[in-house]
C-alpha cells in the first residue's frame, strides 16, 4: 500500500538537509518528493526519523526551497529504480532519468537501489580468466570474471585510456556469451565522459552499454546515487538476464568526496581526513556487489577508477578501497614519465583472485611460477638500480648487472605495449620467458623444475611460433646505454671487475 501525504511544515534548511516537523512516522530511508513554488520537483531521502520530525536529504540543489511555500511528500517507499533490458544503449543522468532522448523504455522490474547483501554461501568463486590483452595485467595481476579490481591512478595518468583498452579487448577465451557494460561517470568532466562514450561508439559496444552520467557540475549529492543505480542495473542484467556485466565506476574519489560533503552537512564526527567513520562500510556496499551467484548465468566484474589524491596510496580513499577490493592495478607516475604505456607498476599491483583463474587448462601451467619469478626479478632489479645509483654500475656484481638489464628490458618489452595491441596470454608468458632466459638458471627458484625444462628457451627445441618481439631499435638503444656507462664509472669504486679466483 502506498499512501502519500503532503506536508508544508518545513522547519529548517541546512546544506542539503531539510527538517520536516509535525509529521507522522516517516520510514527510515523513505523517498520524498519536494515541490517548489515553481512547480519543480526534487527527490529527497529520509536519513533520520522520529515520531515528530524527519530529516530529509535533498538530491540536488536546495536553491529555491523556502520554509513558507515548499511542500514535502512522503512516498512511503525506499529508492527504487525501474530496470529493463531496453536500458542497453541508453544514457541516463545521475538520478537515473534518461538523458539522451526522452523515449521511454519498458520497465521490467523495480529494484531497491541499495540492493541486498549477497549470501556468501550463494556466491560462486570467480575463476574464469579474462584476457585483457595487456601483458602486465594478464601475466601478473590476472583479472577474472566476477572480480572487483580497481585502477589506482593519479591525476594526469592515462587511466581512462587503459580502462577503455581493457573494455575494448577483454574477453574470455573460447566463450561467446552475452556481455554488457554498465558505465557510471561520477563527477567526471564532460571531456572524460565523451571520451568513454565515443570509445564505446567506435567499437560498437555502445548498444551493449548502459551509461549513468553525473558530471562535474551536477549536484554532488547525486553522486551517492549514481554508482548504486549502475549496480542495480548491472545486477538485473547479470542475475535476471544472464549477462556478463563489466561495471566501470569512475571516479570513486569523487564519490568519497560527496560522501564527506554529506557527512559534514549532517554534522557527523569526522574520521580520518574528514571522511566519515563508516566510509569502509559504505564503500563495501558498492564494491561487494561484484561477483557470481550460484545457479545464475551472469556475473558482475568491477573495474573502477580511483585517483589517489597526491599519489598517496595511504590516503583513506585508496586505502579503504584496497581493503575491500580483490587487488588493484597500480599506475606509476615514474613509468609514465619514462614514456611507458600502460604505466602499470607490478610492484604495487595485485590480483587476489589470480590463482583461481590461471594454471593448466585456464592459462598455462607455468603461469604462477613465471609471474612470481618476474615479480621477484623486477623487485631485485629495483634494488640493483638503487645500488647502482649510489656505487655506480661498474661496481655492481655480475648478477646485479644482469638484473639491472633485466629491469630495463622488462619495462620495454613486457610492460610497454601499444594502445591497440592485443596480446594473447601465450605471447605474454613467452615474453616473460624470453626475459627470464637472460638470467642464470639458478636464479629461477620460484619456478618448478619441470616447468623450467619444458618452457625455458634454452630447453625448448625452437623459439615459439608467436615470437616475442625484441625490435632492433631497443637493441640499439641498449648499446648506446652501454657506451654511456663508463662515464658513471667515476662514481663507482676502483676495485670492480675481477672476482673469480679460479
Amino acid at each position: 500500500m502506498k499512501f502519500e501525504t503532503e506536508y508544508r511544515t518545513l522547519g529548517k534548511v541546512s546544506g542539503p538537509l531539510l527538517v520536516v516537523n509535525a509529521i507522522k512516522n516517516a520510514g527510515y530511508g523513505e523517498i520524498t518528493k519536494i515541490r517548489l513554488d515553481s512547480g519543480e520537483e526534487r527527490l529527497g531521502q529520509v536519513i533520520e526519523t522520529a515520531d515528530t520530525y524527519a530529516v530529509v536529504q535533498v538530491f540536488g540543489p536546495t536553491s529555491g526551497i523556502s520554509i513558507k511555500s515548499t511542500s514535502v511528500r512522503f512516498t512511503g517507499d525506499t529508492f527504487k529504480l525501474g530496470v529493463g533490458e531496453e536500458m542497453l544503449g541508453r544514457v541516463f543522468n545521475g538520478q537515473g532519468k534518461p538523458k539522451d532522448t526522452n523515449a521511454a523504455f519498458a520497465v521490467e522490474k523495480e529494484r531497491d537501489i541499495n540492493g541486498e547483501p549477497m549470501n556468501p554461501t550463494a556466491r560462486r568463486m570467480p575463476s574464469d580468466f579474462i584476457q585483457t590483452g595487456v601483458s602486465s595485467i594478464d601475466g601478473l595481476m590476472t583479472l577474472v570474471r566476477g572480480q572487483k579490481l580497481p585502477i589506482f591512478s593519479g591525476s594526469g595518468l592515462p587511466h581512462n585510456r587503459l580502462a577503455a583498452q581493457i573494455a575494448r579487448q577483454a574477453k574470455v577465451v573460447g566463450s561467446k556469451e552475452n556481455f554488457a557494460v554498465v558505465f557510471a561517470g561520477i563527477g567526471i568532466t564532460y571531456d572524460d565522459a565523451s571520451f568513454f562514450i565515443e570509445n564505446f561508439r567506435k567499437t560498437g559496444a555502445l548498444k551493449r552499454t548502459v551509461a549513468f552520467m553525473n558530471l562535474a557540475d551536477d549536484p554532488s549529492i547525486e553522486r551517492i546515487l549514481t554508482p548504486r543505480l549502475a549496480l542495480t542495473t548491472a545486477e538485473f542484467l547479470a542475475y535476471d538476464k544472464g549477462m556478463h556485466v563489466l561495471v566501470m565506476l569512475t571516479d570513486m574519489t569523487n564519490y568519497c568526496e560527496a560522501l564527506r560533503e554529506m557527512a559534514s552537512a549532517r554534522e557527523e564526527v569526522p574520521g580520518r581526513r574528514g571522511y566519515p567513520g563508516y566510509m569502509y562500510t559504505d564503500l563495501a556496499s558498492i564494491y561487494e556487489r561484484a561477483g557470481i551467484a550460484e545457479g545464475r548465468k551472469g556475473s558482475i566484474t568491477q573495474l573502477n577508477i580511483v585517483t589517489m589524491p597526491g599519489d598517496d596510496i595511504t590516503h583513506p580513499i585508496p586505502d579503504l578501497t584496497g581493503y575491500i577490493t580483490e587487488g588493484q592495478i597500480f599506475l606509476s607516475r615514474e613509468l609514465n614519465n619514462k614514456g611507458l604505456y600502460p604505466p602499470v607498476n607490478p610492484l604495487g599491483s595485485l590480483s587476489r583472485l589470480m590463482n583461481n583463474g590461471i594454471g593448466a587448462g585456464k592459462t598455462r601451467e607455468d603461469h604462477r611460477g613465471v609471474a612470481d619469478q618476474l615479480y621477484g626479478a623486477y623487485a631485485r632489479a629495483q634494488e640493483s638500480r638503487s645500488l647502482s645509483a649510489i656505487i655506480g654500475t661498474e661496481a655492481l656484481s655480475e648478477t646485479d648487472k644482469l638484473y639491472l638489464k633485466f629491469g630495463d628490458d622488462f619495462e620495454k618489452e613486457f610492460l610497454a605495449q601499444g594502445e591497440d595491441e592485443d596480446r594473447s596470454i601465450e605471447n605474454t608468458l613467452d615474453i616473460g620467458w624470453k626475459l627470464l632466459s637472460e638470467l642464470p638458471e639458478g636464479e629461477l627458484t620460484r619456478i618448478k623444475s619441470e616447468h623450467i625444462s619444458k618452457y625455458h628457451f634454452k630447453h625448448r627445441g625452437s623459439a615459439p611460433k608467436e615470437s616475442p618481439k625484441a625490435s632492433a631499435e631497443t637493441k640499439r638503444e641498449e648499446e648506446k646505454e652501454e657506451k654511456k656507462q663508463p662515464a658513471k664509472k667515476a662514481a663507482g669504486k676502483k676495485s670492480g671487475g675481477r672476482r673469480k679466483k679460479r
Partner: protein, 592 residues
C-alpha cells in the same frame, strides 16, 4: 512491549521500555529485526539493530525476548557457516535465495536431525554432576566427537540417562538438583558477552604447529596463546589466516570473517571441504565453524560476530579440545564499535574510537588460554587476530591496543608482499614471547638443536640486514669473503626457507622435523662456506657449488623422503667443500 520513537541508521530509540534490561535481545518493528539493548534512559531503551533498518517507521513495536544475546551450542554446529548473530547462512539461502533478506527467523541449530547419543560410562544414575561435566558424546563428524556437557547452573545427581538416536532438544538425562529435576538436552545456550567458566588457567607450553616455517621456527605461538597479524592491504593477512585455519594442528577451528570480502568466505567454503586434514585424511570442513559477516552485511552484527566466534570456541575448549580462533579482521570489529559509539553520541577517544576500545580488545584476547576444564580435562583456545591499520600505520589505536595484549606479533611487510615474498612476515620486526616456554617441548619432541638453530638463524638474518646496509653504501665488492658468504647464506634462508608457497601442495605444509632439517642444512652450508672463505676460497665459488641448487629445492622434497635426501645433501656439502678447499684454498687460514 515498546514503541519506536527515533531511527538513525542501525540505532533505534524505543519508549515505554521500562522492564527491559541491558543487553536484552529485542525484535524491532513489523519486520522483526534482531536488536540488542545497549543503553537505558528512564523508560527509553537504545537499541542497536543487527539488520538494515530501511523502511522501519516510528510507532512500530519493539518486543523484548528477555534473553541476552546468546549462541546455541550442540551437535550440528560443525561445518556450518553462520552470520554474525549465529543464523545459519545455508538455511537463509534456502529461504530467501542468493540475497540475504531481513528478519529471517531461523534456528541456529537444526532441530530435526537425529543424533546417536552415547552416554558416558561414568554417567550413571546417582552419579554427581556439576556444570561442565561430560555425560556423553555424539560423533558429530568422523573428526570430532561432540561431548555433551551439563549446562550452566545445573548441579546435582543424575536421575536418569539414556543413549539412543535423538534430536538436540530431546532430553538425554534428568538431573536431580536442589531446586528440583532439571532436564538436560544436547542443546545449550550461552551468552556471548561473558567468558565461559573453567577450573583454572594453566601454562601454555605446547606449540600450535602451523606448517609455516617462518612461524614455527622463528615466531611460534603456543596452544592457548594469542597472536596479532597487523599489515596493510595486500600484505597477505588473509592468506596467512587461511593457511593457519587449514594446516594448524588444532582440533577445532573457528574462523570469523569480520567485515571482510564475500569471495574470501566463498573461497573457504569451496576449498575446505576439498582439503584433507593431514593426519586423518578427512575434509577440513569437518572440524571447522565459520562465522561470516562480510563487509556489506549489517555493521552492528559485525560487532557481535567476534563474540559469537569466541563463545563457540570456548564451548569446544570445554570438551577438552585445542581450538584455534582466527579473527579477520579485528579492525572491522573496532570500527563497528566506533560507528555505534558515534551514533550514541559518546565522547570519542583517539581517532573517534570509544574510550573503552582498549578494554574491549584486552577482554577479547583474555578469553584465549590453555585451561583445566570444569570436567577436569585440558583444552585451549588460541586466538589469532588480524589488524588492518589504515595506511599500514601501526601507531593507530586498534593496532596499539592489540600489541599491548598479544604475545606473538607477526609483522606483515608490504615491501615483501610486493616482491611476492610470502608469507610476508618480516623476520626482523616480528617477535614471539613463547619461545622460552616452548623450549622444553622442542627439546623433547624435535631435538635440542631446534632452539639453537632458531637463535643462530635469527642472528644470521640480523647480521645480514646490517651488512646489506653497508653494501648500500660501499658495494658488495668491498666486503671480505666471509661476509659475502654470509650475505649469500642469508639470501638462501630468505628465499628457500622463509619464503613458502601457500598454493603448492608439498610446500604449503612443512613439519617441524623437516623444518629443522632444512634450516640445519642451510646453517651447515653456511658454516662450511665461512670456513672455506677463511681458507681463501672466494664467496662466489662457494655459493655456486652444485649443492646450492639442491638446497634451494629442499622445500620440494616430500615429508617421507626428507630424512634420506636431507642426509644426502649434507654429505654433498661436506664432499663438495672438501674438493673446493683442496682446489682453491690456501694452506693457512686468512684472517678476516
Amino acid at each position: 512491549m515498546g514503541i519506536i520513537e527515533r531511527i538513525s541508521g542501525p540505532l533505534v530509540v524505543a519508549k515505554e521500555m521500562l522492564g527491559a534490561s541491558m543487553y536484552d535481545v529485542v525484535r524491532v518493528g513489523s519486520a522483526k529485526l534482531i536488536g540488542e539493548v545497549i543503553k537505558l534512559e528512564g523508560e527509553r531503551a537504545i537499541i542497536q539493530v543487527y539488520e538494515d533498518t530501511n523502511g522501519v517507521r516510528p510507532g512500530e513495536k519493539v518486543v523484548s525476548t528477555d534473553t541476552q544475546l546468546s549462541v546455541e551450542l550442540g551437535p550440528g554446529i560443525l561445518s556450518q557457516i553462520f552470520d554474525g548473530v549465529q543464523r545459519p547462512l545455508n538455511m537463509i539461502k534456502a529461504k530467501t535465495g542468493i540475497f540475504i533478506r531481513r528478519g529471517s527467523d531461523v534456528n541456529s541449530i537444526d532441530r530435526k536431525k537425529k543424533w546417536q547419543f552415547h552416554a558416558d560410562k561414568k554417567a550413571v544414575k546417582g552419579a554427581r554432576v556439576t556444570e561442565g561435566t561430560i555425560i556423553g558424546y555424539v560423533e558429530e563428524t568422523p573428526l570430532i566427537k561432540h561431548y555433551i556437557m551439563v549446562p550452566q547452573g545445573v548441579n546435582g545427581r543424575i536421575e536418569s540417562i539414556k543413549s539412543g538416536k535423538m534430536s538436540v532438544e530431546d532430553t538425554v538425562a534428568v538431573v536431580k538438583t536442589g531446586r528440583g529435576m532439571a532436564k538436560v538436552s544436547m542443546l545449550q545456550k550461552r551468552p556471548v558477552r561473558q567468558a565461559a567458566r573453567y577450573a583454572e588457567k594453566i601454562a601454555a607450553e605446547v606449540p600450535l604447529i602451523t606448517g609455516m616455517r617462518v612461524i614455527d621456527t622463528l615466531f611460534p605461538v603456543a596452544k592457548g596463546g594469542t597472536a596479532g597479524i597487523p599489515g596493510p592491504f595486500g600484505s597477505g593477512k588473509t592468506v596467512t589466516q587461511q593457511s593457519l585455519a587449514k594446516y594448524s594442528d588444532a582440533n577445532v577451528v573457528v574462523y570469523v570473517g569480520c567485515g571482510e570480502r564475500g569471495n574470501e568466505m566463498t573461497d573457504v567454503l569451496t576449498e575446505f571441504p576439498e582439503l584433507k586434514d593431514p593426519t586423518t585424511g578427512r575434509p577440513l570442513m569437518e572440524r571447522t565453524v565459520l562465522i561470516a559477516n562480510t563487509s556489506n552485511m549489517p555493521v552492528a552484527a559485525r560487532e557481535a560476530s567476534i563474540y559469537t566466534g569466541i563463545t563457540i570456541a570456548e564451548y569446544f575448549r570445554d570438551m577438552g579440545y585445542n581450538v584455534a580462533l582466527m579473527a579477520d579482521s579485528t579492525s572491522r570489529w573496532a570500527e563497528a564499535m566506533r560507528e555505534i559509539s558515534t551514533r550514541l553520541e559518546e565522547m570519542p577517544g583517539e581517532e573517534g574510537y570509544p574510550a573503552y576500545l582498549p578494554k574491549r580488545v584486552a577482554e577479547f584476547y583474555e578469553r584465549a588460554g590453555r585451561v583445566k576444564t570444569l570436567d577436569g580435562g585440558i583444552g585451549s583456545v588460541t586466538v589469532v587476530g588480524a589488524v588492518s591499520p589504515p595506511g599500514g600505520d601501526l601507531s593507530e589505536p586498534v593496532a596499539q591496543s592489540t600489541l599491548r595484549v598479544v604475545k606473538t606479533f607477526w609483522a606483515l611487510d608490504a615491501a615483501l608482499a610486493s616482491s611476492r615474498h610470502f608469507p610476508s612476515i618480516n623476520w626482523l620486526s616480528s617477535y614471539s614471547l613463547y619461545t622460552g616456554a616452548l623450549q622444553g617441548w622442542y627439546d623433547k619432541n624435535i631435538g635440542e638443536d631446534f632452539t639453537s638453530n632458531r637463535n643462530r638463524t635469527q642472528a644470521l638474518l640480523q647480521k645480514e640486514a646490517e651488512l646489506k646496509d653497508i653494501v648500500q653504501l660501499v658495494g658488495e665488492d668491498a666486503l671480505p669473503d666471509t661476509e659475502r658468504v654470509l650475505l649469500g647464506v642469508g639470501r638462501m634462508v630468505r628465499e628457500n626457507f622463509l619464503r613458502q608457497s601457500a598454493f603448492d601442495p608439498v610446500d604449503a605444509f612443512t613439519s617441524l622435523k623437516k623444518q629443522n632439517i632444512m634450516i640445519g642444512t642451510m646453517l651447515h652450508f653456511g658454516d662450511k662456506a665461512e670456513e672455506a672463505a677463511r681458507k681463501g676460497v672466494s664467496a662466489e665459488n662457494s655459493l655456486e657449488l652444485d649443492v646450492v641448487k639442491e638446497i634451494s629445492r629442499m622445500k620440494e622434497i616430500p615429508e617421507e623422503k626428507i630424512d634420506a635426501e636431507g642426509g644426502k645433501i649434507n654429505e654433498q656439502i661436506e664432499s663438495q667443500f672438501k674438493k673446493l678447499v683442496a682446489e682453491h684454498g690456501m694452506e693457512e687460514e686468512v684472517k678476516a
